[in-house]
């Protein structure tokens, strides 16, 4: 007899892989139907028809789309994302550094934002409808309502220009110590935390308030437990599933949605990389970036699903 959790998790993972394949088809189709000819854009307007034809044959552009898709996919599966058309670099190598930078930024933003959001959510529930709750709700609502680039520039104006606490440009390079790196990315981290805090905090608040209606919370109150013990020990464990889902959506956003913030702070991450190469019509890079973003997105949501399954005591401990 297979443990029901294992079965559910395997199902989810299989579904995730299927979804990723579907995403790869969409990315491939999407980039192929973009107007313009890759060979033309590499060789420029002055290229002769003969050299264009040769390059097309060399790049395999004359093969039917299905063949090209499978060639690309089999390359991807072997870790070969192709070479950038604009500068001939290996995409996997170039992107590896960029992805590392983006993940570094996302990691530190998440380390701050997730616990902060949950604690703020708990405080909101504890002081429901009183001033701490209203203050937290108001501020977080404001930060998610203002566009990130504006938050970014406002932060630059005050924190970098006026107070001169942090650098306005987040430039990182090899040989920096961890401390130097963290100092360099402090501005984008602040902006990202403000961008994702609101959703997670509000979901935590709503999910816990929902659980607070249940009979076992009344039992806890009649046990004479303190409000905070009740919220943290009796309500929070039963609110994990909805909270995890919104946390993962925001983590995914930290990786795939940072384009604007990276551009504002000139941070050498995935977002900058993607924007640069879209401008250059560098199709293989755009495809690779799209695929990585899709994988991150699907992977994190898969993780959210699995955590939700694990958080359910009925599934974890069957009869």
């Amino acid at each position: 007899m297979v443990h029901p959790i294992l079965k559910l998790v395997v199902q989810r993972v299989a579904l995730g892989i299927l979804l990723l394949l579907a995403a790869s088809v969409l990315i491939f189709v999407g980039t192929q139907i973009l107007p313009g000819d890759v060979a033309q854009s590499i060789l420029g307007q002055s290229a002769t028809p003969v050299s264009l034809a040769n390059l097309r044959a060399e790049l395999g552009l004359n093969d039917p789309p299905v063949t090209r898709y499978f060639n690309w996919l089999s390359g991807v599966l072997q870790g070969d994302l192709g070479t950038a058309l604009s500068n001939g670099q290996d995409i996997a190598t170039a992107m590896g550094r960029r992805l590392g930078n983006t993940l570094f930024l996302a990691f530190w933003a998440a380390i701050i934002a997730v616990p902060l959001a949950i604690v703020l959510g708990l405080i909101s529930v504890r002081y429901r409808d009183r001033w701490p709750d209203k203050l937290i709700s108001g501020v977080t609502l404001a930060t998610i309502s203002v566009p990130e680039f504006l938050v970014g520039y406002i932060a630059v104006f005050f924190l970098a220009v006026q107070l001169q606490w942090f650098p306005s440009i987040a430039s990182v390079y090899d040989g920096m110590t961890l401390g130097e790196r963290l100092y360099a990315i402090s501005m984008p981290v602040i902006v990202l935390v403000l961008a994702v805090l609101g959703h997670m905090m509000r979901m935590t608040r709503a999910a816990i308030l929902n659980v607070m209606q249940s009979a076992y919370v009344e039992t806890a109150e009649l046990k004479g437990l303190s409000q905070f013990t009740i919220i943290a020990r009796h309500a929070l464990p039963n609110a994990v599933a909805p909270v995890v889902n919104v946390v993962m959506l925001n983590l995914a956003y930290l990786v795939v949605g940072v384009v604007v913030v990276e551009v504002v702070f000139v941070y050498p991450g995935m977002g900058q990389y993607l924007v640069d190469h879209v401008a250059k019509r560098d199709v293989p890079v755009v495809q690779a970036c799209g695929l990585v973003f899709a994988a991150v997105y699907i992977g994190l949501n898969l993780l959210a699903d699995v955590i939700s399954i694990l958080a359910n005591p009925r599934l974890r401990h069957p009869k």
Binding site: E218, T219, L222, K223, G224, L225, P313, H317
Partner: protein, 545 residues
């Protein structure tokens, strides 16, 4: 009374009500009630829903559920006033001096935590004893309460134990911190009758062995008579009568108490069983989609026209599933259902409009069986339009006739369900079923959610309607008293099978099969010492075997 533990004087409890379309107003839930509990004694609080029993019970912890306010009087616990005490003081006494056992332990336990953690939580949080000692005490209590595998049951999660066991674990949870007073709030009401008797016996034994005082809240006088030393009868938030259990049961002085004691006095003569049946269920077997387990196994029953067949059994015995098979909601995998001489199609879709019209249903929860945004007139008028194409004045006249039949005033035609009491809602559902002029009405636990006196009224109404209209009832219930009151024939179901079937006079007369014996002997009777007699009798029987 030197040893008074809890002394509630002139208690007044209020809440704010928000009637739709009107300004909020304060309503008095409990008015001028005084309760005293001495050390080691058990006081039963009894009354119908809305009597204020639970509200008074919770006031012993100075707790108001959902906006309920304790606005007047004194609540003295161990000699000190707690009604006006601060949160810090209340937290130190809740879960330590006074503990609480809820009606639904299944809902009252945190699903994400092991039972042991929850049972010893207060002992630890109040700093009463070290963890090892608390765990040892919990295991002792599990054993005392007759739980299986007392050493290890604490490692389980709430969903892994049965409802009856969970109720006992909750009792252990209440007793673990060595409280002075335990409030039992309908602890056995949600249980099957054969489970109830064991839990009741366990609770009673635990109360006696620990010497704790208790407030025992219930609507069932026969239950409270088994455990309480004294009884207070409440109605509409006021005290009706207060006395020793023996006095209340045998010599009630108030009219209302007498009504509660003699409830279920309905009797009716069994009708001739040898008539050609209107409904014939033959060898029906059924299972739910996606399962490999038959919930109905080879069920055969007959129901003559104008008579009542009671289907009796505990939760999970397949009673409601049988109703679903008859109505076509769950197509049986085998067997046939014949109605008024014609075979009914298994599938609901293949049944004719007359098939649908002639079999109607009434449900347990009248509130959810009605659209809250429709008036009583619209609700009752719908089958008149649908089956008979009535409209205008003709329909209005017929609706008024039906309102007369269910003994409700014609003025109710423009009321909404939210404006009706529980009994009135169920009457409207009866009128809606009757409007279709059915030959058979399936009644699924129609009186289970109602207070005894209201339920009696509904049963009397159903019997009168049967005499007037000649309609047959398939009456599903877990309550033997209801069966006695209205059945002509009875089918006892157990695990999807009919284990006993026949005319009422035969089914309810010995010799019994084992299950029917267990079922019948578990129904609490309104006499002192009943519980001990039954348990003694069972012990002797099992020793004899």
């Amino acid at each position: 009374m030197a040893d008074v533990l809890l002394d509630i004087r002139n208690l007044r409890i209020e809440a704010t009500s928000y009637p739709p379309g009107e300004p909020p107003r304060d309503v008095v839930l409990v008015d001028d009630v005084s309760v005293a509990v001495e050390k080691g004694r058990v006081l039963g609080l009894i009354g119908e829903s809305g009597a204020g029993k639970s509200t008074i019970g919770l006031s012993a912890m100075s707790y108001g559920r959902g906006g309920v306010r304790l606005t007047g009087g004194q609540i003295l616990l161990n000699g000190r006033e707690i009604r006006t005490a601060g949160m810090r003081e209340l937290r130190s006494l809740r879960g330590h001096e006074v503990t609480y056992v809820a009606q639904s332990a299944a809902a009252a336990f945190n699903p994400a935590k092991q039972l042991m953690e929850q049972v010893i939580e207060t002992s630890l949080s109040h700093g009463l004893m070290p963890r090892a000692e608390a765990e040892a005490r919990a295991v002792d209590l599990f054993r005392q309460l007759g739980l299986p595998d007392p050493e290890n049951i604490g490692k389980r999660y709430p969903h892994q134990v049965s409802g009856g066991q969970l109720q006992r674990v909750m009792t252990a949870m209440a007793l673990c911190p060595k409280p002075d007073l335990v409030i039992f709030d309908e602890p056995t009401t949600a249980l099957d009758v054969t489970t109830q008797i064991d839990v009741l016996a366990a609770i009673k034994r635990a109360i006696h062995e620990t010497g704790v005082a208790a407030l025992y809240i219930t609507h069932d006088l026969a239950v409270v008579a088994q455990v309480a030393d004294d009884i207070m009868v409440l109605r509409h938030g006021k005290m009706v009568e207060y006395g020793t259990t023996e006095q209340i049961i045998t010599r009630p002085s108030e009219e209302y108490t007498r009504a509660l004691v003699s409830v279920r006095g309905i009797e009716h003569a069994e009708k001739d069983p040898s008539v050609e049946p209107v409904l014939r269920v033959q060898n029906v077997t059924a299972r739910y989609k996606g399962t490999n387990f038959d919930v109905l196994k080879n069920v055969s029953v007959d129901l003559p026209p104008g008579q009542t067949l009671a289907i009796v059994g505990e939760s999970g015995s397949g009673k409601s599933t049988l109703a679903r098979a008859i109505t076509g909601l769950l197509p049986p995998s085998q067997g046939r259902i014949t109605f008024a001489g014609r075979e009914l199609s298994r599938e609901l879709k293949a049944r004719s409009k007359d098939d649908l019209r002639e079999v109607q249903m009434i449900y347990q929860m009248a509130d959810v069986a009605m659209n809250p945004r429709q008036t009583v007139g619209t609700i009752i008028g719908r089958p008149l339009e649908f089956y008979f194409g009535m409209s205008g004045e003709q329909k209005r006249v017929r609706i008024q006739e039906l309102l007369d039949q269910i003994e409700m005033g014609r003025g109710f035609i423009d009321r909404y369900p939210a404006e009706l009491s529980g009994g009135q809602k169920q009457r409207v559902c009866i009128a809606r079923a009757l409007a279709a002029k059915p030959k058979l009405i399936i009644c699924d636990e129609v009186t289970s959610a109602l207070d005894p006196l209201v339920a009696d009224g509904i049963l009397k109404l159903l019997l009168n309607l049967q005499a007037a209209e000649g309609v047959a009832y398939l009456f599903i219930t877990h309550d033997i008293a209801t069966v006695r009151a209205i059945a002509d024939r009875i089918a006892v179901m157990f695990k999807g099978q009919v284990v006993r079937y026949g005319p009422k006079s035969q089914v309810l007369a010995p010799p019994f099969d084992d299950y029917t014996d267990l079922l019948l002997s578990s129904v609490p009777e309104m006499e002192l010492g009943w519980l001990e007699q039954v348990l003694e009798h069972r012990k002797m029987e099992s020793a004899g075997n």
